[in-house]
């Protein structure tokens, strides 16, 4: 008979951030692609409609919300005294473990990598990539928000980021890069959700429910 021990894996703050990011990114994806391909609506008077305007406001709102979630997560990762800190992103530096992990995922070997960090070695690489994607989409997003307004905080951020705007070839380039990164999120979500399910099935540790309850079940020998 197998015995399991309950282990606190995710603190409340991390779980809150995780599901807020899920809702935020889905809203941003849908509203963002709507902005790229808006629908024409000829019915009624122009003055009574503000469809694109509202969706852009929604997108900007959640975009800025995502920025704050990211800042909060960075704060926790850098200064909070619990798991999922910044050095957990270095799990991939154990190359031997990384190779064991890749073999395990590719179903070549049954050997599991060591549990050294909060994240697995490949997982840490994927999440580092996600952080870069997030920084890039937030920066390009903030540049566009800055261009949309002519006073206040966003304009200040916009002028701070002006050199990046010019390096990207002006607002057109910024917009295109923003759009490209949006696809990065879609691909990440596909793999992330599949891996969560797969690991839940293979490890039987309750990976998926852990992001809700905060607890995983570790096998006791």
């Amino acid at each position: 008979m197998l015995k399991f021990r309950m282990k606190k894996e995710w603190w409340l703050a991390i779980r809150l951030i995780h599901w807020s990011v899920v809702i935020t990114v889905f809203t941003l994806l849908i509203s963002g692609f709507y902005i790229a391909y808006p629908l024409s609506n000829g019915a009624g008077a122009t003055a009574d409609k503000f469809c694109m305007g509202n969706i852009r406001t929604l997108h900007t709102f959640f975009g800025v919300f995502l920025t704050f979630l990211m800042i909060w997560r960075a704060y926790l990762g850098l200064f909070a005294k619990f798991h999922a800190r910044w050095h957990d992103l270095l799990a991939w530096t154990n190359i031997h473990n990384l190779i064991t992990q890749i073999k395990f995922y590719l179903l070549v070997s049954e050997k599991k990598p060591k549990h050294e960090y909060q994240y697995g070695p490949l997982q840490s690489l994927a999440y580092s990539g996600l952080i870069l994607l997030q920084i890039a989409i937030i920066m390009t997003g903030l540049i566009m928000v800055g261009a949309n307004y002519h006073a206040g905080f966003s304009t200040g951020v916009g002028s701070l980021l002006k050199p990046i705007e010019i390096a990207m070839g002006g607002l057109a380039g910024v917009r295109l890069i923003h759009h490209i990164i949006a696809w990065g999120f879609i691909l990440f979500i596909m793999v992330h959700v599949y891996m969560a399910i797969w690991i839940d099935v293979v490890y039987k540790e309750g990976t998926i429910s852990s992001m809700v309850s905060g607890r995983v079940f570790r096998k006791v020998d």
Partner: protein, 403 residues
């Protein structure tokens, strides 16, 4: 709380009033100085306006509009008019490099005279390759004389990009066959200021578009100097006239953005001033040329309008004496005032999201869909293999820990 706000408002108003007073004083002083310093005009502007049939009233109206375009308060109207009268006394050397002369054409060709064009005609152009009668050695002598007579005083206006490849030999000029780079370096080093007219001299434009075989660059880039860039293809004459007026009134070029464009003219986007903007926010778009949306003057976003990415004041000052401008005429903006717009704004009649990579149908979305497809296939395959393997090993369901 409320009283605090009122007090702050009052303080702000006072500060602004003081600033304006200071500016007016500076402006008057500088205009006086210019009156003394500049060579006198052969034919005063008033006479020229009269012979072209432009009334004093239209001229005053023009100064009001130009004052507003320059973002100056109404007290400056009479000063703008005075600067306009001095306009023709600034010595100008006008150089042409790799370009089509479209900018000069746009400035000089008008169906009926408007004040901007007449003012441009009063310019005391010491050297202009398209307009001057002289040719060959005589032309070169004219240029040399201008540099001798007005060292550090003349304004160098440049039209056209500089090919920098092959030591600049893609462009040679004049009887002595000097390269554009040599001429530009010599003339700009002696000028009071360098104004780049049009996107070619500002940023390279079509000559610098990929693959840019001659390695063409804008003047600032090619020579490593600071220039005032009146970009556009062609630029609006108002933006050039206004910039020189500012120079006459305040003795300095107007504040510039990080790409060297005067902020008064290039500080906001086409999209911010566009008269079709309510249709954009409402969700009323032209879907194809000539449809009902087009007839109703709806937003051209889906027809590839690049107004949201383009800093310029076309919507405000318009072209040809304010008659019309591209979006009013029914075509989207193509972003002509932005660096490398042939590359960054392509495809010109489709939204930015439909840019193709390496030709064909390879848009970001098609590439993204293909990658998503591959990912999905990978997931299905991985899942299937995992399932089959586990079916075969019913007894050992648990993976072993290494450590």
């Amino acid at each position: 709380m409320n009283r605090n706000f009122k007090k702050r408002d009052r303080e702000l108003e006072e500060r602004i009033a003081q600033d304006y007073q200071r500016m007016v004083k500076e402006c008057d002083l500088h205009l006086d100085k210019m009156d003394h310093e500049l060579p006198s005009l052969i034919e005063p502007l008033a006479e020229q306006l009269e012979s072209a049939g432009v009334s004093r009233r239209s001229f005053m109206k023009w100064s009001a509009v130009t004052t507003a375009a320059l973002m100056l308060p109404p007290v400056f109207k009479s000063r703008v008019a005075r600067a306009a009268e001095q306009f023709g006394r600034v010595p100008v050397v006008w150089l042409h490099f790799a370009e089509c002369t479209g900018c000069s054409e746009a400035f000089l060709r008008t169906s009926y005279p408007n004040v901007d064009d007449l003012i441009l005609e009063t310019l005391s152009i010491e050297y202009h390759e398209t307009l001057m009668a002289a040719a060959g050695y005589q032309a070169e002598e004219n240029l040399a004389r201008a540099l001798r007579d007005f060292p550090g005083k003349f304004i160098c206006v440049i039209e056209g990009a500089l090919p920098t490849g092959m030591d600049g030999k893609y462009l040679t000029l004049g009887a002595k066959g000097r390269t554009g780079m040599e001429v530009a370096r010599e003339v700009t080093s002696k000028a009071a200021a360098v104004i780049c007219i049009g996107s070619c001299s500002s940023f390279g434009n079509v000559q610098a578009a990929k693959p840019n075989p001659t390695d063409a660059k804008g003047i600032g880039d090619a020579l490593g100097i600071k220039t005032v860039n009146i970009s556009g293809c062609p630029p609006n004459p108002v933006n050039f006239v206004g910039t020189i007026l500012h120079y006459l009134m305040f003795g300095a070029m107007p504040p510039l953005d990080s790409l060297g464009r005067p902020i008064w003219a290039y500080g906001k986007r086409i999209h911010d001033y566009c008269e079709r903007r309510p249709h954009y926010d409402a969700g009323e778009y032209v879907e194809e040329w000539g449809d009902t949306g087009a007839k109703n003057g709806w937003c051209l976003y889906k027809m590839g309008c690049k107004g949201p990415y383009t800093y310029a004041n076309c919507a405000k000052v318009r072209f040809n004496d304010g008659i019309s401008w591209p979006i009013m005429a029914g075509h989207g903006c193509m972003g002509c005032t932005e660096p490398n717009f042939w590359d960054t704004m392509a495809p010109l009649e489709k939204p930015i999201a439909e840019k193709t990579f390496g030709g064909g149908e390879k848009t970001v979305d098609n590439i993204g869909k293909a990658l998503a497809g591959v990912t999905a296939a990978g997931i299905v395959a991985h899942g299937a293999v995992s399932y089959i393997k586990r079916q075969g090993q019913k007894d050992i369901p648990k993976p072993q820990d290494e450590g």
